[in-house]
């Protein structure tokens, strides 16, 4: 599970299996396909993108990842 949050406003989403923003690759691994404006808890009206029109995001892995010891 990845917590994706806007760095300029409270907008965020938690993305994992079953979320419409992810897809499986040829190795059956999930991939994030992030539309930066399409967070579940949407950007504030006064949230300003950068000069390139992008919202800086923070991707934070929450659930255990990695392999067996």
């Amino acid at each position: 599970m990845i917590h994706i949050a806007c760095q300029n406003c409270p907008a965020f989403d938690i993305v994992g299996p079953g979320h419409p923003a992810v897809t499986f690759d040829e190795k059956k691994q999930l991939h994030v396909l992030t539309d930066r404006t399409a967070l579940k808890h949407s950007h504030a009206d006064d949230c300003q993108p950068d000069a390139n029109g992008n919202y800086p995001l923070a991707f934070t892995f929450l659930a255990p990842v990695g392999g067996a010891a």
Partner: protein, 158 residues
């Protein structure tokens, strides 16, 4: 013969991953070379996930600006004690790790590995991310973090 006693698994893995000082395990006669454990352990990022026997393709600054690759100084330190004490054969990281992108990461992040800090670093753990980050998803100003508890290690199946 059955599985390894889980109490022993907890002791061995706790000894490995909670230590803040270098120590050496010396096998008996015929048991092979001495094995030195060199904390701190470091978390590295990989665009292609490794396997049980082979390291993955590590992200590099050229395609992942803001990331530092290589061994033993690349990646980020998991702290003086990388993991908490193991219970039920498992534990996880106790330090928040964050990279800040300084440009577009044209290669994604699919896996992670944990290496020690020996001059010839040793790989200890590897695995795929539960959800990978695709190519060119991360752009300048974005951060990639692993929350406390997000990097798990388990010997429960030993």
């Amino acid at each position: 013969m059955g599985m390894t006693d889980q109490g022993l698994v907890n002791k061995i893995l706790s000894a490995l991953y909670t230590s803040s000082t270098t120590f050496t395990i010396t096998p008996g006669t015929g048991g092979g070379s001495a094995f030195t454990v060199t904390p701190p352990f470091r978390l590295h990022l990989y665009s292609t996930t490794g396997s049980e026997t082979t390291t993955g393709t590590e992200n590099v600054a050229g395609t992942s600006p803001g990331y530092t690759s290589g061994y033993p100084s690349g990646g980020l330190s998991l702290g003086s004690s990388a993991f908490g004490s193991f219970t039920s054969g498992a534990s996880s990281n106790g330090t928040l790790l964050t990279w800040t992108a300084t440009g577009t990461w044209t290669l994604g992040v699919a896996g992670i590995e944990v290496w020690d800090s020996a001059s010839t670093a040793v790989r200890y753990l590897w695995g795929p991310l539960s959800t990978a980050i695709g190519a060119s998803v991360v752009i300048s100003g974005d951060t990639i973090s692993f929350a406390i508890g997000a990097v798990g290690a388990s010997g429960a199946s030993w």
